[in-house]
Amino acid sequence: MTPPAQTETGQRVPEPDRRLPDLSLREAAGTGARHGRSLIRRSWVVLAVVGTLASLIAAGVGQDRTVNAGGLPLVGDFFAAALRPRLDADFLALTANATLTTLGYAVLGTALSLVLGLVGGVLASQTWWRSATRRRRGIRMAGWGMTRTALVVPRGIHEVVWGLFFLSVIGIEPIVAVLAIGIPFGAVTAKVFSEILDETPQRPYTALLAAGSGRGAAMLYGLLPPALPDMLSYSFYRFECAIRSAAILGLLGVGGLGYELSLSFQALLYQEIWTLLYALILLCGAADLWSSAVRARRMAPRRPGSRTSRVVIGSLLAAIALLPISAWIVQLDLSVLGEAGTRELTVQMLGDSWPPDLPSGGWTELLQLAAGTLAMSVLAIALAFLGAVVLAFPAARMSRAGGSPAGRAARLLMIAATRGLLLVLRAIPPPVWALLFLFVLFPGILPGALALGVYTLGVLGRLMAESAENLDDRPLQALRAQGAAALQVFCYGVVPAATPRFVAYGLYRWEVTIRETVVVGVVGAGGLGLLLDQQLATFDYGGAVATLLVFLGLTLLVDLTSAAVRRSLHT
């Protein structure tokens, strides 16, 4: 240390390096285990880079034929139509109707997924099984393991595939969309709810059990109340996802914005497409805002004595009110489920789908397509991750001390612009992106990868921006208080604190993206999705099951990798 009077001028007084040999040894010994962990982490980084490069090569990037400049005018036509959407009264009425239908499907699908999630969540929680069979550890582990495994299949199959299945046995009925959203979302929700339950402090629950109360009652009184805020927060996040999902499901013909979109799309009526896209952007934007508002209440520090936020109570009431309204809008009819025709077709279809049947190209074809699908998902998530990291910070409302009014206005403008961009990216369904990329790229997995990439970028960018907003501000304040400039605070405070969460988000979205390759496969972007689409179109259910099994294997591989990487993040 030098006296203060000297530091004013002498910032760089040379200091003798007093490194001692024994100290280095001690340090090396003490950090052995940690180096092991950081070595694992480093290996993941290397693997991610190698995987992305390999996927780029698989997608044919760098070969002479990648970008097709000839298609640029067509993309220009598409975006030019954004300025003159079709706005006559008839079409606006149709758009409004479709918007309500999409909203209705999202509400009903979410409701179903919450019911399934609550039941499945309890059954898939370790807490439940632990208290169910106190003595028999074997049964306990088996029961828990089986429930968890049972959730893998519905979760691994994309909503669109569920939709196609129900379409085949039920026909074009609103319930198809509700089931297609509710079942896979229900399985995801069950997994998350079970984790919430297991992470909730168990003492009140075990105390109630010890006092002789039944398991159900003990859970209701001891476990659910503290777990509820997290579950609610997650439910609203699911709703937000359900809107996007309902829009894509419309493509199957069950109505809503996606349905109208696909009709206008087949004839490439850009002006109509834009009217519908604007409606979709508004709907997604509103749902996202609602969900953020509810979830922000979850994060906000609360003053003692204040009650449950009005926003939350109001939102719950609104959600309840929306249920019957939605059922009315989409004309939900549950009676078809019990019809003899549905049963017959289900039995017939299940009979047709067994045994699984390899495609004409056999295992070679399946595995090649699987590799293409994997490469597509890797490229998509790499693009989405890098883009989202860049856009998350300008999109985040982070507290800044001071600043001129003009500076603040500029910042607000930047936040609004980035958020708007992210909203547009995620509101436009991936098949639409895929076609645009197909105009300017040569066919292959690249257009599909970019389509999924920009869409996922929209989702991921928003998640990351929210996470950046929720960073602990105190270390940043501490850095500012000692005179660090904004960019330095960013590098030393924001980036390191945000990185683990960002990586976790990226991995989670990768798990979603591999499932979503099915959606762009439909547009001819290749991979297993295209094969599956053709098999379903030709009623080749045996073939479809074989493809789905390979797909599930791939999904499982991605899930396991992602889980392993996330484990290595916890130091």
């Binding site: 203060p4 007093r18 105190r474 501490a478 660090a484 605070v489 590098c491």
Partner: protein, 253 residues
């Protein structure tokens, strides 16, 4: 020393909306002084520290740090002043995801160029000084440890090491030992004292523990409800005055 006092508060006050956190404070702290600020919870101790290090701007009166009116200073001038003030917090406020060496090096941020700061994240610069600082606080072996993995006492030492490399004119400590057990707390207090003595750095610490304040500091400032109740050497303090500082509000229903 011909220079003016390090910190000068003239009628300074802070309001959050209608709530007055600090009211009409007049306080001078000189070079090399060691001052303890005591008072009950909510007396305004943390606000005072924030006022002194420029995190908080006064809504009334004036705060001069190193002779500069900090509210009127430009951003660049303010950062120039701030780089000469080191702050230690009760909750440490370190970036837990960074290795200790980077948290210590964060003490340079006020003086390093941004490019240098970014490069240092990739390959730590000035490792010698960081190591030396950590050795000075007794944890030289934790240089490359992830900060989040360290114990509370160790994290507070990293925070002190960060202040050490910053080589500030004054160290502000906001309840530096409130999160630590008594033995660890005393060690940290001793350390801050030694450093202040060795380097002639001003030390201003807010404390819960009245005994430590009276025992170790040459000057004790008592805060109550945002006002200065007393400002004196420990020897000159009447125990009744201290008791009154912490007494529950009288006459209240």
């Amino acid at each position: 020393m011909p220079e003016p006092a390090l910190f000068q508060l003239q009628g300074a006050g802070v309001r959050f909306g209608s709530i007055r956190a600090l009211t009409e404070l007049d306080l001078d702290v000189g070079w090399g002084e060691r001052v303890a600020v005591i008072g009950p919870s909510g007396a305004g101790k943390s606000s005072l520290i924030a006022l002194l290090n420029g995190t908080l701007a006064p809504t009334d009166g004036q705060v001069r740090v190193l002779g500069r009116d900090i509210a009127a200073a430009s951003g660049r001038e303010r950062r120039g002043v701030q780089r000469r003030l080191g702050t230690i917090h009760q909750q440490f406020h370190l970036v837990e995801q960074l290795r200790a060496v980077h948290n210590v090096n964060a003490g340079h941020l006020g003086s390093w160029s941004t490019a240098r700061a970014v490069l240092s994240l990739l390959a730590p610069r000035d490792v010698g000084r960081a190591r030396q600082a950590l050795e000075r606080v007794g944890i030289g072996d934790k240089l490359y440890e992830h900060t989040g993995n360290l114990s509370g006492g160790e994290q507070q030492r990293v925070a002190i090491a960060r202040v050490l490399v910053q080589r500030p004119a004054a160290v502000l400590a906001d309840e530096p030992i409130a999160s630590l057990d008594p033995a660890r707390g005393r060690e940290i207090m001793d350390l801050l004292h030694e450093i202040s003595r060795e380097t002639g750095t001003t030390l201003l610490a807010s404390l819960h523990d009245v005994d430590i304040a009276l025992e170790r500091f040459e000057r004790v400032v008592g805060l109550r409800e945002g006002r200065i109740a007393f400002d004196a050497a420990p020897a000159a303090l009447d125990p009744a005055e201290i008791e009154a500082l912490y007494a529950l509000e009288r006459g209240a229903p």
